[in-house]
Structures are given as C-alpha cells and as structure tokens.
C-alpha cells in the first residue's frame, strides 16, 4: 500500500514487519525518530518486542549482542558518535557471527561537532566484518531492512548487516513508499532459527579465547563469507522481486551507463540528485552517467570493473575522507582496475557534502565538468578559501 511517511517511520514500520523480539537503542540525532516510533508500537501493543532503554550506545549494541546470542532476532539503530562509541561491540558482533540488523543514520563525526549528514561514521567501521548497504531513498531503506535480515540470517552468511541511510536527508525526508503487507514479509523472511545460541539444554561456550593457532582462520572465515555474500545478494534480490515486485541488483546500479563518457560513482541519497542532473545534461546531448554503489561491504570490485571498464572518465564522489590518506570509496574503485587490461583513462576522486553541506545540482555539474581535465586526487568540492586561516596550496 502506498503511504506518505517520514523516513524514520518507514524504517520503524519495516522493522515491525520483521518482528524483532528485542530492540535496544540510545538517543542520538538523527536516528532517534526510528526508535521512538518503535517504542510507541511496543507501548500500543502493536509490536511484541522487549524494548530496552540503555545508558549508552555501547550498551545498546551489547544488549542486542546478548539477545541475538540467545537466539532472538534483534534490532538497534544509531548514528555518528553513537556508532563510534559502539565500535568495539560492532567488531565483536561480527566476530561472533551474530546476524544483527542495525540502521545507521549517516552523520558527520566530531570535532567540530556537527549533527548533519555525511558518511564518515559508517565508512570508519568498514573493516569490522559487517555487511554495509547504502540506501538511495526511503523505498530502498524500507526494502533493504527486510533484505538485510534475510541476508544476515542466511546459514551460509551469519554476519550482521548495517543499513546506512543519509541522516536527515532520508531519515527526516517525507516520501511516498510502497509498504508491504505482513503476509509478504512473513513469506520472504521466515522466523529466525539460530545455528548456535545460549541454551541451557545444549550448553555452548561463545566468545572463547583464540590464540595464534586459530585466530587467523576465524578472521579469514568472515572475509571469505563476505565474498560469498556477493553471490547471495543478487539471488536474494531476485527472490525479493518475486514477492514484492521491486527489482534491485543489491550490489551496484547503473544509470545511463551504456554510452556514457563521463560517469560519477557515488553512494546514498546523492545518487538521486545525480540522476536529475544526468537527465538534464542528457537533454543537452551530454553523455553522462552514474554508477551507484549499494553494497560497500562486501565490495563488488568485479561488478564495478565490468560496469566501468569501457568508460572514458570517472569521478568517484566520497562523503567521507581518510584524513591524510585519500577518499575511501575512490581508493577502492581505483584498486578494482589495478593490473587489469581495461580501465578508464581518468579516475578522479572528489570529496563533497561533509557535515551536511548540500551537494547541489551545480556541485554535480562541476564534477562532470572537471572530468574533461586531468585526474584529480581527493579534490574537496566547494571549499571556501575565506574560511581557511592558512594557505595550503
């Protein structure tokens, strides 16, 4: 059924449809609305779930770690500083192979403190072993949460999934979405049956000490499973399409790529803006396109190679930066072409939209214009020189 909803309510309704038994979270903007809605659903008796109010994000993540380990589907949501405070628990959840699903409302990292959107928070946790899926709009945010549980709980995967959605832009954006029925979701997502759990009838030790004889294998198994997820995600999205009637690739999505000469690679809500710009520029005969990355972990290097190998000029747009290094998405996109026979002539890297600075259509046009010139490395868009106290040239 079509519903006009705020993004946070879209996610809350999606989570309700997934029937988690335990929900735990700590307030942080711009995530808070999601769990407020869930708390109300529990209060109204619409959602049969234990809602645990905790004293920190560290404990929120630890509570759902404990409930998942007891074999109960669980949910949490966070953002920015909250995700960083959770960081060691985030690694722990993946290491313990607990199929948790969590939303991150993407937000900048302090200092300076800033509550607005970029993707520095989740990018900083890219190495933790979680699958990371980035939503472009609220329909994707809705559908990806349902997919996320199915993917996480697949017996061949058993890894947590983080659904990343741009803070405010999506969480507080009001859009029409097609809300599935409970019957559809139940058909796609069966009740969770844990492979291993804390059970007094079958006692097991979870979280043991692994010495140098076996630690590497535990880590390798996660890495290898992430690669398996690259194959499973498209299978699940195909099944999803049959039940819900919406088609996703789940790893990447091309827009006007076929004859494109200049292409932007990006993740998240900015892809909508880029598509609008493409539509305008195409009318003027410019051969521009977009490659949207949906899955950042696992990183679909081969799919990206295949999608871009015949493109002449590529700009990778990051809403995060590895300070003192480069832009994370650009670094990995470039690496996908290293040692390969075919490659774009130019792969430029641009950083934009930090701390909520709008990436306007003009910004996007500037990026395309820049692509007629020589390759840029970690180019910060829309810098205001008058705010810089020193000359960094």
């Amino acid at each position: 059924m079509k519903e006009l909803l705020e993004g946070s309510m879209v996610v809350a309704k999606a989570i309700k449809l997934c029937r988690p038994g335990v929900v735990s979270a700590y307030p942080i903007t711009p995530q808070t609305h999601i769990v407020e809605h869930l708390a109300q659903m529990v209060a109204d008796g619409e959602l049969d779930s234990q809602f645990v109010n905790v004293e920190s994000e560290h404990s929120a993540a630890s509570v759902v770690l404990g409930s998942e380990a007891t074999g109960v589907r669980s949910y949490s949501a966070t953002s920015s500083q909250g995700l960083l405070l959770m960081a060691e628990v985030i690694y722990n959840i993946a290491g313990m192979r607990l199929p948790l699903v969590m939303t991150d409302a993407n937000r900048a990292i302090s200092a300076p403190i800033n509550i607005w959107n970029d993707q520095q928070d989740t990018i900083s946790l890219r190495d933790a072993g979680w699958i990371q899926i980035y939503a472009e709009d609220n329909q994707e945010a809705l559908d990806f949460h349902i997919l996320a549980y199915r993917l996480a709980e697949d017996k061949n995967i058993m890894l947590p999934v983080m659904v990343c959605m741009d803070g405010f832009i999506l969480t507080h954006g009001i859009e029409t979405v097609d809300m599935p029925t409970q019957e559809q979701v139940d058909k796609f997502l069966p009740p969770y049956k844990a492979l291993y759990k804390l059970d007094v009838d079958n006692p097991q030790t979870l979280g043991p000490l692994a010495d140098p004889d076996c630690y590497t294998e535990a880590r390798y198994a996660i890495h290898a499973t992430q690669k398996k997820a690259l194959e499973l995600i498209p299978e699940l999205t195909a099944e999803f399409a049959k039940v819900f009637g919406r088609e996703y690739n789940g790893l990447i999505e091309g827009y006007q790529l076929k004859d494109a000469e200049r292409v932007i690679v990006a993740m998240g809500s900015v892809c909508g803006t880029i598509k609008d710009v493409i539509d305008e520029l195409r009318q003027k005969g410019k051969k521009v396109g977009l490659l949207k990355i949906t899955s950042f972990r696992p990183f679909p290097a081969q799919q990206i190679y295949d999608a871009l190998k015949n493109i002449s000029k590529v700009a990778v747009l990051d809403r995060a930066v590895s300070l003192g290094g480069g832009a994370p998405l650009a670094t990995e996109v470039k690496a996908a072409f290293f040692g390969k026979t075919r490659s774009p002539k130019v792969i430029s890297s641009v950083v934009a939209g930090l701390g909520g600075r709008d990436i306007t259509k003009d910004t996007v046009k500037d990026i395309y214009s820049m692509l007629t010139q020589k390759e840029k490395a970690c180019e910060f868009m829309d810098l205001k020189p008058e705010l810089l106290k020193e000359n960094y040239e």
């Binding site: 509570v63 409930s67 007891t70 074999g71 804390l198 043991p208």
Partner: protein, 297 residues
C-alpha cells in the same frame, strides 16, 4: 567429566582464589543458568579454544559489557517466555566491575533486570600484570602503584561498591569470600530466590598478585574477613545482616603478603590500615558481643 558445572583442567594459576569461587557459584546456581562474562583472567583461563571449562551456556564479549549482554539475554528470555526457568549471571573481576564496567553495571541495575552480578574481587588487574584498580586496597603495592622512596603503594581506599549497588535500590547486595565457601553457596542460592538485580562481591585472593604461597588462598580470605578488612555483609531488601567477628589485628594479614611488605617495619603504615579495618567494624557492627558467662549454679 566431573560432577561440577565448572570443570578442572583450565589454566588458572595454582591456588587461584577466583577459580575456586567460580566453581562454588556455578554449582550453586545450577545447570539452568546462562553466564555472561567480562574479559579477564576467568575467561582467559577457562575458554581457550577449542577447550572450555563451562558446562552451562557461557558468553564472553568484551571487558566492560557483561551487564549489558546479560540484560540482552534476560530480555530475550522474557521474549521467549523462559525467564522464570533460567538464571542469568553476569560476572567480572574488580576492574571490570568498579572501573571500566561500572556504567554498564549501573545501567543494568537501574533497569531492574533479573540478573545476578558477581564481582570476583582479587583487588587489582591481575590478568594484565597486577595494575591497580578501584578495588585495590589502601597501601597495596601494585605495578602501577609501586612502593618506592616516595610511595607507600596505593593511596586510595577501595571503592564502596556495595554502597553504590545499594544506592540503586536493588533488592539484594552482599559480599562473600573464598575463606567461607558455604557462605558463597548460601548467598548465591539466596540471591536466586529474589527477582530483580542482585550484586555479590566475592573476595578471591590471588597468590601471584598478592605474593603469598599458593596453598594459603583460603587462609588469606579468612584473615581478611577476621581482621575486618573484608566485611561479610548482606543487604536483603535493604535490611543488613553481617558475619560477626572477634577482630584480629591487621598485622597478621599484612605480614603474610608481599604486596604489603613495605609496611612490615612501618608501624605508622600498619596503623593506617588498622584504621580501615576499625572503620569497617564500626560501620557494619561486625564485632561479636562477648559470650555471657554461664550463671553460677
């Protein structure tokens, strides 16, 4: 397979007070128990993959989050309708309890989860090499409060964890000691008759960290109680009961341990520790009344 729910064959040091306490706790709790454990000696010596000492479901996550993990386990059991038939224990050492894990523990207490929290108090960070914690006693020589020309060891007194627990209004707070094994068993069993958050702090002497012969752990526990340095107290719904003692001077306890060696020929230093014991004795009313003489016939 032994008859215990916590098996031997683990890699704890000879004379480890904690391993003795754990066996008593888990046997008293029974097989319908799930344990969430902070990082520390216990998890290291009892769960080295692929071996485990645990005959009950056990989870170790991180250094400071066992109370939150246990909160999640308890919430999951409630969701499954199994809470009434399963005990949940969260446990940690003194550093994991009084320092790095205090926030998580406070949250668990305040939320009212039906969990027994056990602090195995060996009075320093033993797993990392005897560094001072918030439960290290006054004057103890540790690797981060070393004795020296300008130092008499740890300057601070033990953090009053039982009082901090009481301030949360929880229904059961107690201390115990491996010097009194039956006291541990009784208190664990008592705790599980009470719904809500429970706190039990058990004194577990550590031969390595305290520097005494490994056969003397139980004796050290007894002496700590009998001097008044480690009062055995029990608050049940706020009502205090204590184990009465005929107090021994602290000298015997201090002179049995290398961590207090710098006090051995320092009467002023011993006096200050005696004040700690005297304060405990007065505060909790530990002193046994003299037995009335038999009336003459």
């Amino acid at each position: 397979m032994s008859n215990h729910l916590f098996n031997s064959g683990h890699t704890a040091c000879a004379g480890c007070g904690q391993s003795l306490a754990v066996r008593l706790v888990i046997d008293a709790a029974g097989k319908n128990t799930i344990v969430a454990n902070n990082t520390g000696c216990l998890e290291v010596f009892s769960t080295k993959y692929p071996e485990t000492s645990w005959e009950v479901p056990f989870i170790h996550s991180l250094f400071e989050n066992a109370p939150a993990v246990a909160s999640g386990i308890e919430s999951a059991l409630k969701y499954l309708g199994k809470k009434d038939s399963v005990n949940v224990i969260a446990e940690a050492g003194d550093g994991g309890t009084a320092d790095i894990g205090l926030q998580s523990l406070s949250g668990m207490w305040e939320r009212g989860h039906d969990v027994l929290y056990i602090c195995y108090d060996n009075e320093a960070y033993m797993n990392t090499g005897i560094q001072r914690s918030g439960l290290t006693p006054f004057s103890a020589d540790t690797t981060t409060t070393p004795k020296g020309a300008k130092s008499s060891g740890n300057l601070r007194y033990k953090k009053p964890m039982p009082e901090i627990a009481m301030a949360h209004g929880i229904p059961y707070v107690a201390t115990s000691s491996i010097g009194f094994p039956q006291d541990i068993v009784r208190k664990v069993k008592k705790a599980f008759t009470i719904k809500g958050p429970k706190y039990l702090q058990i004194h577990v002497p550590c031969p390595l960290g305290w520097s005494y012969p490994s056969a003397k752990s139980v004796d050290m526990g007894k002496l700590a109680v009998d001097t008044g340095l480690y009062p055995l107290i029990e608050y049940e719904y706020g009502k205090l009961s204590v184990r009465k003692i005929t107090p021994k001077p602290v000298d015997e306890y201090l002179k049995a341990q290398g961590r207090f060696k710098h006090l051995w020929n320092n009467p002023d230093g011993i006096k200050k520790v005696q004040e700690v014991a005297d304060n405990n004795i007065a505060k909790y009313g530990l002193k046994a009344e003299p037995q009335p003489e038999q009336p003459a016939v």
